[in-house]
Each structure stands twice: as C-alpha cells, then as structure tokens.
Symmetry: D2
Subunit: 287 residues, 4 copies
C-alpha cells in the first residue's frame, strides 16, 4: 500500500519533471523451500536490490528474526525495507540480497522456534546444508565467506552470533542486535521435554555464545578473529547483561569486537534503526 | 500485534526480573468529531503519552498527513509510534499529545484532500474553530501558543507552514517535512472546477508559503518571527526546489529558520526519521 | 586565531550581505579565585554565551577535566568551544555558563590532581564552599539545583558522578564521560604517602562511585533518583569495565540512568563529540 | 601534547592490562616539495595511517584548506586528526593517506591564495604535474582514479570541485564543504591587477563550478558522471546560495550528486564534523 500511494503521488506531480522517478527501490519476494532435514516447507523472505537482474551476482546478508515472529517480521513489524532501500540508494550500503528464513512462528507454544539443532528440529543443519545452498544457487548470490554476512535480533541475534561462531569460515561479519547471547540468569526452563519453549531454551544453553568464547582454544580464537563482530544492545534492554558478558569474554580472549549501547529497549524501533549501522558494517566486510 | 508480541516475550523472560516492564509506552486512540463546518464526521488519531492520566495537562503537537492518506497514516504507513515512544522515554522529547486529523483519504479523486479553505471544504475554518477547541478541551492539552506546535509531511508540511503563517499567535513552532510549500513549476491543474485534485491545487496556489513570506509586511514578519520554523527535505525529493525557494524567501525577509537537507526522497522512511528531529524541536519550543 | 581568520573571511565576503554576521558565539574568559581551603590561587575557564549581558541570569554547567590536564583543557585539547557554540546557536542546548575549574595540572607528579578531599588538598570542600558561591554570585548564574548541572571526562567523569552523589540536592543532572568511576582492577597505588598520584588513587578508592550506589540506603537512593544521570563510554576505552560495574549497580538499585557506548576510546575526539549529547541532556534537566 | 598526555595516562593505568594500547593512530608529517612551476617551495601536511609501513600501498585523499589558512590548518584549526583516527580505527573509513598541500597562507594580502591558474601562480598546473606525481611516488599511494579522492572546505571546496570537473579521470569522488562554488552575488573584486585577493577572485570567476556544469556538453556530462559528488553546506553558511545554485545545475544536467544541509555556518566545527561523512564517502568510492 505504502509504496503504491507514494508512487501515485509522484506520478501525479512528476509526470513532466526531470526527476520523474524515485531512486530504484528493492523488491520483497517470498520463496518456499522444502526441507528434508526438518521434514516440512519453510518460507523465506528475500529482499532483491532495485537494480537486480537475473544473472547479476550480489553479496548476501542472512537476517534472522526473533522469537514469536517469522520470515516476514523484519519487513512487517520492524519495517526494515525503508532503511534498506535508503542505505543502498545513497551508497552507504552496497546492493545486496537480504534473506530472512522462517525459524519459528508467532505462537512459540505450538511452533518450534530456534536456529539450533534440538530434538525434532535440526535447524542449524537445515540452515547450512539446505537453505544456504538453495538460496545462493537460485539467486546467484554469496558463494563465499567474503560475500556472505549474518545478522539478527534477539533470538536471531544469538542465532547469528552462534552460527558464525560454529562456522567462521562462512561469514565475513556478524551483527547481533539485542541478542539472546545466553539464557539470562534465573530463567526457568519448562521441564516437559516436549515443551517447545523448553527445547529452545535448552538449545540456547547448549549454544551459549559467552561460554563458547571462554572455552575456545587458540585455534578457535584465531578462526573467530577472521569474522568482523558487532554487538548492539539498548541501554534499557533486559538482555543487556548477557551482551555485556559476551563483550567481556571477547575482550578477555582478545578477539576484536565492535560494541554499541544506544538508547532503547527490546523494541522494533531499536532494530529498525540498527539497520543503519548493520548494513554499512556488512558492506564494509564484503570483499 | 507488534507490542503484544514483545510484551509476551518480555513477560516470559522478565517475570522474576528487577526490570519486569518496558518503559511506559504511549497509547493510540481514534476519536471522531462531528464538524458542522464540513458537514461531516472527521476521524482523528491521538497519541497519548504513557504516563497520561485524566486531569493531567500536556502540550500538543498537531501532526498533519500528506495526500492520499488519512489520520491513521502517520502511525500506519510511517510507523511513527516507535520513534515517538523512544524519544519520550529517553527524555529527548517531553511527554505530549500528538494529534493527526483526517484531511482527506486514500482516494484523492473521490475524497477531498487539503488543509485549506476551498469550495465545499472549509478545512482551515474547521481546524481552528472546531478541531482545536474540541481536542484541547476534551484532552486537557495545549491551550496556548506556548503549549502548541504543528508539523506535517508533504501536503501536510505545506499545511503546517501555511496554518502557522496565518496564525502565528497559535503555535510556538512549525516543522515542515518534504513540504508542498507551493505548487512545483509546470504543474498542471485539472480544469474541471469540481475535480477534487484541482480544487486542492488551486488552494495550494492561493496559500503559497513562499509568496506569503515575500509579500509579508513588517508587522507580519514580526509576527512570523515569534514562531520557531524548521524545514527538512530530502536531497532526492521532487519538492526540494520549492523548499529552497521558501528558505531563500525566509532569509531575504530575515526570519530565522532551521533548514536541513538529509539523505532521501519522498518516502515514509524519511518522515519516520524526521520525527527524531521534529519532536525534540517542538519540545524545546514549548514553554 | 581560528575565529579571527573566519571573521576576516566573512567580513570580506559579507560586507554588503543580508547575513553579515555569524550567529552569536560565546566568549571564553579565565578567572582566578583565591582558595583559603587550598591555600592557593586556582584558575577557572568560563564560557559565557554569546548573548551574555551583565545582569542576565543563566543556568550553569560545571565541566570537569581529566588527569594530566587543567582548567583550559576542555577548550584547548578537546576543542569544546565549537560544539558548544553550535548547540546553543541551533537551540539544541539552552544558553548557559560553562565552568571548568583547575583541579590539577599537566604534571601529576608535581601538581596534585583530584576533585576529592585528600591530605593537603581538600578540593571537594573548595568546590562546594568556595568555587560555586564565587562563580554563581559573580556571574549571576545557577543558584539552585534546577539551574545547575555537572559533567566531566575521565577523572572528571568520576568526579562529576561522585560530587553529585555526595550532593544530589545541588545538581539537576550529571553526565559522565569515560569516567574513572572506581580504580580499575589490578591497579597498584604508589606506597609513598606523599606521592601525589598515590594520594589521588586512594581518594578515588574512598570515593568509589560503584560502591556508593551499592551501599546506599533507601533514603540515599531516593535522593539519587532526583538527579538525571548519564554515562557515556567508548567501546575501546580501558575504563569501560568500571562504567559497566556502575551501570549494573545503578540498575540493581533501581536508580534510572542513561547509558551509551559509542565508538571510540579514551580520546579527545570522544569527549568532543560527547558534548553533542551532554549539553542537550543538561539543558533538558534545567528547569 | 594531546596524544602525549593520553598516552602517559594510559601507560599509567594499563601497564598490566590486556588492553595496554590504544588502537593504532595515524601520524602527521610535513613534507616540502620544490615546485618549478610556482618557483618556490611548498609545504604539505600528510596523514599516514597507523598501520603504515614502507612498501604498503594505500589510497589517497587530497584535502584542501580554505582562504587565510595553509597546509596545516586541517589539523590545527579544524582538529581533523581525531575524526580521521576514529573513523579508520572503527573501519568506517579505509586506511588512506590524507594530503593537504599549502595553497596560500594566513595573510591573503601578502601570500597568493588559490587552487587555480592565475597570473604568476599556476597552482592547478603545480597540483597535477608536480604535487600528485611527487606524493604518489614517494609514499606509494593513489596512482589511479579508483585510488584517489579529493575534498575541501570553502575556497578548497570550490577547488576540489573544480579540479575534479577539469580532471574527472583523476578522482573517484569529490566532497565539497561550505564550498566557494562561485563568487557570491554582489561581491566586488579589487581592481588592482596585482592585488592577490583580486587575482584569486577573478580565478574563481573563471573556474565557476556552476557555469561549468551548465555549459558542459554531453561528453563532458558523461565524464562528470564517472565521479561521485557530494556537497555539504551549513544552513547558516553565507555560501549556501552558491551551493544551491550548483545543486540545481547538477540536477538539471542529470548528474547524480549527494547533497546535505546540516546545522551550522562557516566554521571549523562544521568541517570537523563533515569528516564523519567525507571519509566514509571517499572510502566507498575507492575500488
């Protein structure tokens, strides 16, 4: 609706003008991939840059959503398309594909959420073995560490960090927003082994990003140093503490990391504005 | 939906935490006012600050939408609630009511758009004689120049500027975004006197903000100097030229005005980010 | 030199122009106060806003320098006058006096540094009993909590925080940059009781801002809640850890505090840009 | 002095720390080149990035000073080193050499100012035929359009624009701050043919950047489109009008250009903060 109105308005005003057209905006498409690993179809939202033509090759950013959300949330609730268009139009970000796969759904009691392997939900395997090959072949993007970045918010911020920790050879950069780097202290895990939130929280414990850094041996730390890391968390965010723990672990391990605490809490406006940092950061890390 | 999800998530994580709650967010309500002047009901979107209690008094900002839009557009397409909440929470803006009245609708061929008086649509009369008294009495806000501001985008940016020009005794500040300060050069006006777009465009010509400044006598210029003016327009906006004309007229008349050209064009993302400037500016002008 | 050149240039270009003059810049003066408490003269740098006239009353910000520096350092090494002028000119900060007293000198081995009471250097007593009364009477500024703010960098950031902790009834706000909130872990203190750095470090230990919050009783916490607190520290600053400790203590004590981690380390450019946040923050807290 | 103090402070605090050192800062050196064309020695300030080692190759930015200034002014009055260090340290700008040649001096009556060819002062010839070859060979930098950028303030902003207009094959980008794009209307030129300011102003008229665009034929416009252009001018700058004229000419000629009007006037603080835009812009244009 939004773009349609603006385009109508511009058409009206600009018909005879030297500046008849908006700078090229990107397009959002939704694709569906059948996962053998998950045994189900998964939807993926894909941002194609405005100058996208079949045959072109672009770098790719995997942009992960949070709990109680899905593949479309970055563009619906967080309204991410505006900042992305604006950054690419101005040159502050390079044209890239942005890929947001569905790792859950709005009802976390009924739909399994999470980017990690857990009983009956081998999402990390799906991500590396099915999603990335499918996307990068079909849309002719990414293809190597230097042309691939990862980012995410909340559960997806922890996901982006952990996936890049497990596979630093896959990503040139990782940008974590308001990230669930670990389970916050005092968090109870539902005891029922079939409870979907319980499964997710146990997986978060097993993939704790802070401990991963603390326990990393020298070779692992060297590998982690090949990724550009960024951590961005609001001063009123309930996850600030686990992000600070992560930063302290990274500094103790002498792994360079950018850290920002901006005004805000766990909110879509925080993540909306985070894109103004995340996309230029990913762009600078592409080679 | 958006806030519900976040609150669910926070409830889950924060039940036992010292920081169980988000900073207080505002509330959006829709009111309907019957206008005798317009002979119809008009809807109004109203943002009430998070700490709003009956009996409290707050300043008020009238925030005007553009063509092909309505009272809800600032909160729907432009997603303005996130920035407003964040600015008030951090103290960068003072708690205020934000009032966006319907001055048109999505179909400009069928629904008369415009903030000015035109045949069969005395909107400026409605605005000053019905809307403001109704809102400020019912919600105990504004009440004087020092507690009242106006702002708007595109048609509403020209509207905000012109209404404050006509009544500088009513507003402490005016913030114009991507404003239709005048009809851009070469714009044709539909000849049919009943055509709604034609009526709007003739009214824009009659209320041309640039000519108003150029033609202002000394007393009028003195009056205009009692308002704090701000003009904000994207470097790729098709209305940049008329905004420049306005700035040149204001400088020639020695009426102080803030002017910013930021990256962007005629887009919701531009107006979304403009709120980060507009609300602190209005706040500083309240007394 | 700087302003002289610009003014020459403008004089040349603008002689016949409608905009012959720069917006009013402030003036820097140096005053000297004889302290009976310290038994010596102390110099003070004072920024007077551009529209300052004898008889006017303005609010006042006490802006504290760091170690190995003096009263002039905020304007010399940190080049603070540019941001201050610009913020006041644009209205983003209210006109105010900015007062930077000498609490040390460039040679910390020879000149006692510090804002606290220590053997032979009762600076905190001097600050509250001599400096503030002298400045506020002579320059007709401040005079009450609502018209007074404090801020500082490094040793002066810890100083600003601690002085506002000790006297929350004196300041409406406190802005700490890269602050020495406490002695960083593992810091050795020179054993010689006459060593000036040793005396300073012991005073920092005794005035530890983190412990002050942890140990505050309910009445003290209530008093601390009457001040608006802001903490700003670079992600590469060696003092980030003690600032995080302070933030955690404040959150545990449920005392509201703004927290920002921006890009940078312990450097003049960090503090130069911090003024863009600090002055609007102080301005909003004045009443 | 500045860096020495900070380093002393850090040495003191950080001796035993895991973060004993600041991120690598750049170094400023002054070189002198003998110009046969000008018949005199000219000094050049050169910023070498912190990780500069003999044999390394870096891109180069030519950064031009204004009237009543010299090669050192970008680092002295404008205090440019802080922003440059910070941007390179954070990765927002790529490591580059920054070269500021002396095109005048503080006394414009006695020392010829200007980047253009004028009687007795063939500075443009010197710039292209002597300075660039000397710098790029000696310091192993630049060497091609893709590795070379130009920027400047006031007289140097007009200089940067005009030199890139004359030689679009030489620069990947041009960033003009508060630029003397043309002589402002009503400006009188001293009649004495030997008056140095008169010679400069006549050269500015002859190298008028606005007329250059207006008069450009199709081939020239195509060539101009190979440069990334940026224009940045304060809303209170007395040169805003000639910058607007330039933007209008560029838009009419359909040559893409970034345009920003930020808060401020013709001041060092404006140029200091402009570096935060200029260096990332130049970095993105290097290939």
């Amino acid at each position: 609706m939004k773009s349609k109105i603006i385009i109508t308005l511009l058409a009206f005003f600009c018909a005879s003008s030297a500046f008849a057209s908006l700078p090229p905006r990107g397009t959002l498409v939704t694709d569906t991939i059948h996962s053998k690993i998950l045994g189900t179809d998964r939807e993926v939202s894909i941002y194609l840059p405005g100058n996208f033509k079949s045959g072109d090759h672009f770098p790719v950013l995997y942009l992960l959503h949070g709990m109680y959300a899905n593949h479309a949330s970055w563009f619906k609730e967080t309204q991410g398309k505006g900042p992305i268009d604006r950054l690419i139009t101005s040159g502050e970000a390079v044209p890239m594909l942005i890929v947001s796969p569905n790792a859950g759904g709005y009802d976390a009691d009924k739909e399994q959420n999470g980017y990690f392997n857990m009983p009956g939900w081998q999402y990390e395997d799906f991500f590396f073995n099915e999603l990335i090959p499918y996307i990068e072949q079909k849309y002719n993007c990414g293809g190597s560490k230097n042309q691939r970045a990862i980012a995410g918010l909340s559960m997806g911020g922890g996901g982006a960090t952990a996936l890049a920790q497990h596979h630093p050879e896959m990503f040139s950069s990782s940008y974590a927003m308001s990230a669930l780097m670990a389970l916050p202290e005092g968090r109870e895990i539902p005891a029922d082994p079939n409870n979907k939130v319980g499964k997710l929280f146990r997986a978060v414990e097993q993939n704790d990003c802070v401990n991963y850094v603390k326990n990393a041996d020298d070779a692992t730390r060297d590998a982690l140093r090949t990724v550009n890391w960024f951590v961005d968390c609001g001063d009123d965010d309930f996850l600030l503490d686990v992000n600070i723990d992560y930063i302290r672990a990274m500094k103790a391990a002498k792994i360079p990391v950018q850290f920002r605490v901006r005004e805000g809490d766990h909110s879509h406006e925080y993540w909306h504005t985070a894109l103004y940092y995340a996309l230029p950061f990913a762009s600078r890390s592409f080679k």
